[in-house]
Amino acid sequence: MFLAELFRTATFRLTLAALAAMAGVMVMQFGLVYTQMEAVESRRSTELLRGEARLLAQMTPEHLEYVIRKRATDDLRLVISSAGLFDSSHALITGDLHAWPKGLVADGKPHNIEIYPEEGAAYPLRLLAETLPDGTILVLGRSFHLLAEQKLMLRHATVVAAIPTLLFALLLGMVLSRRALLRVKEMHEAIDLIMAGDIHERLPAGKERDDLERLAGSVNRMLDRLERLMDGMREVGNDIAHDLRTPLSRVRAKLERALTSGGEREALEGAVSRAVDNLDQCLGIITALLRIAELESSRRRAGFGTVNLNDLGADVVDLYEPIAETEGVALVMQSTAVPVCLFGDRHLLVELLVNLVDNAIKFTPEGGQVTVSVLRQAGSVRLAVTDTGIGIAPEEHGAVLSRFYRSDKSRHVPGSGLGLSLVSAIAHLHDATVQIEDGPEGRGTRFSIIFMLQHALKAPD
């Protein structure tokens, strides 16, 4: 079982591949040494044969004959395994070669020739024949037994060295694979735990020293992010449930009371109409959520066209002026001298601005001021709504754009809590960024939508 599993690990397969490569290298090395050895020996024996032949050729014929017969010099005994003196018709005069070797030419060059002795097996010899001045032919031979011995030694050495080396490598591979396998198994177990619902579990990443640990570290960071997202979603889910439950329970209570009081027609009508109002609030929340989801998921720009921000601001101010007036808030428009146009969806941008202005008026006490301003900047266009209201604490600046966020100061003000999420989604669709900062002199809040210039069109002159 373990072996089958082992074989499936990438490490073990890599080890096997390395092993095969190693064996290949060894075979190649062996082959090269083997052939080189043959070449070296061949060169050496040629030189030896030639040198000896040269020396012997200088002797007097009688002396030579004696030397050959007795094989009297040290050199002859050591390096020359066979010698013979033949006359010009290839008849043996003296020496241990019994007959003229078949195919030998007296050209002073070495020839490898098979020798057939009177008894025993044939054996190869490297032979050299030299015609002497008196017409006799000197034949010297050197056997290959030295080379054969060396080759044998090499073969033995190679086999003896290769087997333990390869076995050791295999063992090492198995151990390493097993270790890797154990680590992967740990990760598997961690992942299984996570899949089973334990979202806080993490992979063993150690100090992220190697690839596997770094991978585990990356996976862990991904899990952290996912966990945060899931927490966020759960929170939004809870918020939605809570925000829907409040008006729904009010509806229920109202209807129940109306039912049990069995009252007058007018009281019933009042209760039902208030119930309808509360249900409308619920539907408003659901509609807003669907719209935000739709805006966030789509990159549709079917409704995009040229929008003049000054006109847009003026329209919204015109729509909200009476409301601002009744709430005792001054609503002011600060437009630029030249039209500022950008590429966008007019209806959505109106919705964005209306949400900002509506909010600003809601949170500005009587006697305050809300300013809608359009500003051209280098590379961007800024649409801002500034109020002199209750302000937003700096630590809450990021959070107010998230769904259902209600600042502690605004708990008592009715609303879906989704207006700013909608603003953020619409801004995002226009590749614009939302900036929240304190108003001038630290009073109130300024919401800015900053459109990048690729969306802003050149003002028509």
């Binding site: 719209r291 789509s298 729509l319 209806h347 209306v354 949400n355 509506d358």
Partner: protein, 247 residues
């Protein structure tokens, strides 16, 4: 629409104009039987004759007879889709006004609905009063005559000079108030919902807060109906407003 309408109308004591029994035939194409039942009941109680079809194909057949004065079509229908029905009807040259109903709230959904040939668009869920008001509005589209003067009861409006009088008294109006009053005077005696006004007067498709239109109407009302005068602008609870035509 200042003097007479093509449809038979009669007025009740409060100046509310109702379409006569024979006046409006509504073709409703809606597959959700629960909603359809509500719509049929509501429309009938307002004096409409209603013909209800549940599928796109049956609806198309009914529409092609041309007997309906107004059509209410759900976007999502079994078989033939609502938009296809409208497109086919328009291709046959039938100009019957269409109100499109949709449960979708997609951003450019309305645009496609209107492009297909719809005249108005209503997203579910909606108040029944809203539906009725819109059906009535479709039946009595203001005659866009080129007349430069409008008259409703004691009110008269000069569209060229942008001036308004109530009997001998000139009413000073801001441009936005003038636009609102013009809208009302082109639809006298007709219930107009807040969202209809936002859409038609301001071209906004959503209601940011419920009392926004009320505040505008309030301002206008204070100028139109001076103390002691017979109030002309009436609030209809739960629905909207209307400009009375005093008998």
């Amino acid at each position: 629409m200042t003097e007479e309408t093509e449809l038979n109308t009669d007025m009740d004591s409060e100046g509310l104009v109702h379409l006569g029994q024979s006046g409006g035939v509504v073709l409703l194409i809606e597959d959700d039987s629960a909603i359809a039942e509500e719509i049929v009941g509501e429309l009938m109680s307002h004096g409409f004759d209603v013909r209800h079809e549940e599928t796109g194909d049956a609806g198309l057949t009914a529409a092609l007879t041309g007997e309906a004065h107004v059509m209410v079509v759900d976007r999502l229908l079994p078989g033939m889709d609502g938009l296809t029905v409208i497109e086919t009807v328009r291709q046959r040259g039938i100009r019957t006004p269409v109100l499109v109903l949709s449960a979708l709230s997609a951003v450019d959904d309305r645009v496609t609905g209107l492009k297909a040939g719809g005249d108005d668009y209503l997203t579910k869920p909606f108040a029944m009063e809203e539906l009725v008001a819109r059906v009535e509005a479709l039946l009595r589209r203001p005659d866009d005559t080129r007349s430069t003067k409008l008259r409703v009861g004691p009110l008269s409006m000069d569209l060229i000079e942008r001036r308004v009088w109530r009997e001998g008294r000139e009413i000073e109006l801001l441009p936005r108030e003038f636009r609102l009053l013009e809208y009302l005077m082109r639809r006298p005696g007709q219930v107009l919902t807040r969202s209809m006004m936002l859409e038609d007067v301001w071209q906004y498709r959503f209601i940011p807060r419920t009392n926004l239109v009320d505040v505008h109407i309030g301002k206008l009302r204070r100028k139109v109906d001076a103390p002691g005068e017979d109030p002309l602008i009436r609030s209809i609870r739960g629905t909207g407003f209307l400009l009375r035509v005093p008998g």
